[in-house]
């Protein structure tokens, strides 16, 4: 048996840097069975403790090994409503695969790749509508936002027999899966299919519904007949650096840049109506997955030079190893230990450069990482005509600001316990709106726990 994972076919870097098609192409059935055969089927299943939604990993892998792909996806779907998404964007190396026994001497089982295989297999089968719609109505739940936390809570609650209505502010459900993560990493068609599966479960999706404006939380509970509300509105408020020149034309928040391209399909402009301004040289500020997504998107939009500007060193880069590797392969340049101090512009208000300062690493700071310290007189200009700020997002304040009695912390995140309970009766919250910007799967885990608690709350209330 090989000590390495079976490789997943990919588009070559030279080809893919010019298109928005998916980079990783997925396992075929034969390779999937081979990879599944690597699993030792440990009785203790250490991999499961790394999964925030507790998928029965050994069981679904065993089904794939035996060629029972339908049974595999059924096993996954018991715990995970968005397997095709998770198989693509979960940081498995820090979760399930981190605990795989095979990882001690070689590479762990490609759990994420197998999950993706099973999910894609199911999506291709054109399942007849599974009639899981509850015969008995356990109650009504409103879910605010339609990102990973909300969709998971909605799916779980609908599965239990609740009537669930999801209110989404944008014109399409999916949240960050639609507006943030690029097509080449997570095809929007996949997201739409996963959402369609939730609709089959009976979940109602209301788009263009900005809660806090069209209804308040209190109105949903008091007037609209909902027994409980789940808030999963995410980290939707972009941070800027507060340095001079940030309002020059050509400076984007990563949120705006990615939303224009992903949700609004600016890469097809002028066939589509939304433009995006990408010059010859682009600087992306930040080192996380959002920064990698922005840099790789800029390449695909025709930028000749794309720089990642990050104030710490490669070791501290928060992006997933796979994303970093893909960005390097595609030709993104890395300006590490570098921080922008000013955006320079011309007399017409357009970006011409960013003034950067070199950094060195000092003692560990509050985050546990070594703190970057500016090196005096090391300033230089990096000539670019587009700048994307990918330095993080805060919580969107629309719901909190219109919900009396809902406590928030200093950063504006909703205060909630491990089960999503907030300070307000009947109101639950989970995902980035509670934790600050994190990963898709952590948000899904929060949605799952909240769904269980909502069930308990509603049944107690009705009893």
């Amino acid at each position: 048996m090989s000590s390495l994972k079976n490789k997943m076919p990919e588009q070559s870097p030279q080809v893919r840097r010019h298109n928005f098609d998916e980079v990783a192409l997925g396992y075929g059935a034969d390779i999937a069975k081979l990879e599944a055969a690597r699993c030792l089927q440990c009785k203790t299943a250490p991999c499961r403790k790394g999964c925030p939604v507790e998928v029965d990993i050994p069981r679904f892998i065993k089904e794939i090994k035996g060629g029972h792909f339908d049974a595999a996806i059924e096993t996954i779907k018991k715990k995970n409503n968005l397997p095709a998404v998770c198989g693509r964007v979960c940081p498995q190396e820090d979760q399930c695969e981190k605990f795989c026994v095979l990882g001690k001497k070689g590479e762990p089982v490609g759990i994420g790749r197998l999950e993706r295989f099973a999910a894609d297999y199911a999506l291709q089968q054109n399942h007849e509508e599974q009639n899981l719609k509850a015969t008995e109505q356990l109650g009504n739940v409103a879910v605010i936002g339609a990102g990973p936390a909300s969709l998971t809570a909605a799916g779980d609650l609908a599965g239990m027999g609740y009537k669930v209505t999801v209110f989404e502010a944008l014109h399409a459900p999916g949240g960050v899966l639609m507006y943030g993560i690029p097509e080449f990493r997570l095809p929007k068609d996949i997201v739409r299919k996963e959402i369609a599966a939730l609709k089959d479960l009976g979940v109602e999706m209301v788009v263009n519904a900005v809660i806090g404006k069209i209804f308040t939380i209190d109105e949903l509970l008091a007037d609209k007949g909902y027994d409980a509300v789940f808030i999963g509105t995410g980290a939707g408020l972009p941070h800027f650096m507060e340095i001079p020149g940030e309002n020059f034309n050509g400076v984007y928040s990563a949120n705006e840049f990615l939303t224009r391209v992903n949700l609004m399909k600016a890469y097809k402009f002028p066939q589509t109506g939304t433009p995006v301004q990408v010059g010859k040289a682009v600087a992306v500020i930040g080192g996380g997955n959002v920064a990698m997504d922005s840099a790789r998107t800029a390449l695909r939009l025709g930028a000749e030079k794309v720089y990642i500007v990050y104030r710490r060193s490669e070791e501290e880069l928060p992006a997933r190893a796979e994303e970093l590797e893909h960005a390097i392969e595609e030709g993104v340049d890395f300006c590490l230990l570098t921080a922008p101090v000013r955006v320079c512009g011309d007399e017409h208000g357009w970006v011409t450069a960013i003034e950067c300062i070199k950094m060195e690493l000092g003692e560990p700071d509050a985050s546990g990482r070594r703190a970057p310290i500016p090196i005096p007189d090391s300033n230089y200009n990096l000539e670019v005509d587009t700048v994307v700020m990918a330095i993080g997002q805060g919580p969107n304040p629309l719901v909190q600001g219109t919900t009396p009695g809902l406590h928030v912390n200093k950063r504006g995140n909703i205060a909630a316990d491990d089960h999503g309970m907030t300070s307000k009766e009947g109101v639950f919250a989970g995902g980035d709106i509670v934790t600050g910007a994190a990963t898709v799967i952590l948000a899904m885990g929060a949605g799952k726990k909240a769904a269980a608690k909502i069930h308990e709350y509603v049944q107690n209330k009705r009893a």
Partner: protein
């Protein structure tokens, strides 16, 4: 889907749509806006709510056919639909009894001023309105504004209606005549709003303007609509759209409104004709 139930051409290239949107009509307040997207490939554009009818469940939008989306919108016929309308967005106008309020609307800006002027009037204010346009043909909502104003001044650039000149001229005269003005509300082209701010600043007259920068989501998510107010970045979609005119960086706003000038030229070449008669 949101159905267009009535269309009126107010002046050449300026149309008023009545749109069935019961939830928005139920909640909206003067000063708020919606974001609409005509079809699957369309962009999201903000439009201020020009009026609303809660009983009928309708909102009114008034727009000038100047960009790709507004021109496409102008091709819709009664009974046709708009795919997405989200709102009401932004903060509502702060309405109370101030005393004498001067409401100024320039060009298409008269449309959003109208429900605000009406609300001021209903709150017991003395409302003096000044509306202006390039010429008499382009002047909109004259009757409506007259109905909610104690006094209405009209200006046109060419003198074809009312006084020849700019909307700031009657404002300057009011100030010179020692009219006790408690508040000025001005909506129109950025250059006009900047002019109004310059007139009232030396007198310390509180002045509010409503800004219309480029937006995508309209819910605070993209930051594209950021504008410097009192040297701090504000998001027009959630913090505004109304701001203290004396604190707004109008020059920065004008620069940011030009971001897609080159793209607009590309679009012009790409655009086809009217969709409903194709």
């Amino acid at each position: 889907m949101y159905t267009v139930t009535k269309i009126e051409e107010l002046s050449p290239g300026v149309k008023a749509f009545v749109i069935k949107a019961p939830l928005i009509a139920h909640k909206c307040q003067p000063g708020q806006f919606v974001i609409l997207r005509i079809d699957e490939d369309g962009e999201r554009i903000p439009l201020t709510i020009a009026d609303f009818n809660r009983e009928a469940g309708t909102i009114n939008l008034i727009f000038q056919e100047v960009g790709r989306t507004s021109r496409q919108l102008g091709t819709l016929c009664t009974g046709e639909t708009i795919l997405d309308v989200a709102g009401p967005l932004g903060q509502a106008t702060h309405i109370k009894q101030f005393g004498t309020v001067v409401c100024i609307g320039g060009g298409i800006g008269v449309a959003p001023v109208y429900p605000i002027a009406r609300a001021y009037k209903e709150a017991g204010n003395k409302v003096i309105s000044i509306i202006g346009a390039r010429n008499a043909d382009l002047l909109i909502l004259e009757k409506e504004m007259a109905a909610v104003s104690d006094t209405l001044y009209i200006t046109t650039d060419d003198g074809s209606k009312g006084c020849k000149g700019l909307v700031i001229n009657p404002l300057q005269e009011l100030i010179a005549d020692r009219e006790k003005i408690a508040l000025v509300m001005a909506i129109g082209p950025v250059i006009m709003m900047r002019g109004v701010a310059d007139v009232t600043r030396p007198y310390g007259i509180p002045t509010i303007v409503s800004l219309n920068p480029i937006m995508v989501d309209g819910t605070g998510m993209c930051g594209g609509c950021r504008v410097s107010v009192a040297n701090q970045n504000k998001f027009a979609c959630v913090d505004g759209p109304e701001f203290n005119a004396h604190e707004v960086d109008f020059d920065g706003l004008m620069t940011r409104q030009r971001i897609y000038r080159e793209h607009e030229k590309m679009e012009h070449r790409f655009e086809g004709g009217c969709s409903c008669h194709r």
